[in-house]
Symmetry: C2
Subunit: 245 residues, 2 copies
DNA sequence: GGCATGTAAAGTGCATACAGTTTAACCTCT
DNA sequence: AGAGGTTAAACTGTATGCACTTTACATGCC
């Protein structure tokens, strides 16, 4: 049905295609955290062999969107609250860097592009949550891409996707109105060119997004029984183990 | 000859092993930027099939240590000056975050571990450059790993390796003495616990490492003819294309 | 009914085979 | 000898096959 058109791009790299598709499906919650991603199924779906599907999964795992355990089916990542908190902390620093580099340096065309994007966010406001979350995320990626610093672009994209995944996991009905307004404020401040001001603005923006979503260890919505029951299980008197990746 | 012992670890993941080996070879300049990495050769060297070697290369490419172009042999990455500059900028922010989280929170054991590492750096001071660069890099990674924030650890490691690669490319004889001293100062400041102070220290440290290495567009040492000749070629009147990754 | 156990199905880990592409060698013609 | 073209070798891209592991199910025992 939605078979990727192989001829659209001559020698196109198919693992990239699959990655993009999965990335999008994940952040739109078409694939919820914990969802299984068997290589066979992916391969069939995209009309490639397991080899390619597997490679794509490896890529996504490196980005933190997918969890890969030996001999087990790959699943969409389920970030813990702590990891989510860390991610936002790092994200704040990275995006401060983005706007610092961008302040006062945007062309008219770029500013228009940003405004257009926010307009799109506005229109999607009443649509499904997943879409507006995705658009909000893509706003930040768009911003990052304007730095033309490949590393920064990659890091911001990656961590923004992860935060996006987190938002879909933890957040309540999700009030995006204020976020959209904050995006507009950011654009204006960028145009005006006061680096310090726009850095502060970005800091505040991300901070409030994070706290709207992560208010005091909201337990993730449903999904894995062990996780839900974790807070009810008696901790065996020892300090909780420091399990990291 | 040095065939990896398959039985040493029962089900160990071999692509990880290869990644570690290559990473180390790269940052020690056993493999110089531009060096070819054919899948066959790697496979044979590590006693695995191309499948595995290829996967490892994909991983390394995602980390920016290897360049992968379609249908071409993978090569060790040759970061441009601009990318190197960007990398250091980002690194500074990330490592400021590291020490902010660590200031005043290190255990005695951890402090001892850090000191021990710097001692090792000291001993290697008169050895080959590559080794002391590697040790200096690993100091920062060790620091990051103490945050126990998986994301931060990954990002700092990754970017530190990339910077390390850059250093080996651009830097002159490399004066590591001062860097070592700065490491000691950092440890002391961390122990003392003044977050602001230690952030400033880290900032200054990385800044001076970067500028020692990257003073005004030092052209990379040798290697690729096209690169060397680039500044001598008449730019064809048009603004130079903005080629990014 | 509940629990253990064995067995088939599903899935991953990895090597290998083959097709297509790039690179290098060689050969020819001037 | 040098330029250009032609063929072989070297590699990569991808599919497929087989062995091993995990998971799900059904069967049997209590």
């Amino acid at each position: 049905m939605t078979r990727e058109d192989n001829r659209s791009r001559p020698a196109t790299d198919r693992v990239g295609t699959i990655c993009r598709a999965l990335r999008r499906a994940i952040i739109e919650q078409a694939l919820e955290p914990g969802a299984k991603l068997p290589e066979d199924a992916l391969g069939e779906r995209f009309g490639v062999s397991r080899t390619i599907a597997r490679h794509a999964l490896g890529q996504l795992a490196a980005e933190g969107l997918v969890e890969l355990r030996r001999n087990r089916i790959a699943v969409v990542a389920t970030p813990s609250w702590q990891v989510a908190r860390d991610a936002f902390d790092i994200r704040i620093e990275l995006e401060r860097l983005v706007v610092r580099q961008l302040a006062g340096r945007l062309t008219k065309a770029q500013i228009a592009e940003l405004h257009a994007h926010v307009d799109a966010e506005d229109e999607a406001r009443n649509g499904p949550d997943a879409i507006s979350i995705r658009l909000a995320t893509e706003f930040h990626i768009l911003l990052a891409s304007m730095t033309e610093s490949p590393i920064l672009i990659r890091y911001v994209s990656e961590i923004a996707y992860r935060c996006c995944l987190t938002l879909s996991l933890f957040s309540r009905p999700h009030s995006s109105e204020c976020a959209i307004n904050e995006h507009r404020l950011l654009i204006d401040a960028l145009a005006k060119g006061d680096a310090e001001a726009v850095m502060a603005l970005m800091h505040h923006h991300l901070d409030s997004v994070a706290s709207r979503a992560l208010v005091a260890q909201t337990r993730p919505r449903g999904r894995d029984i062990m996780d839900i029951l974790a807070p009810y299980a008696e901790p065996p008197r020892a300090a909780r183990a420091k399990a990291v990746g």
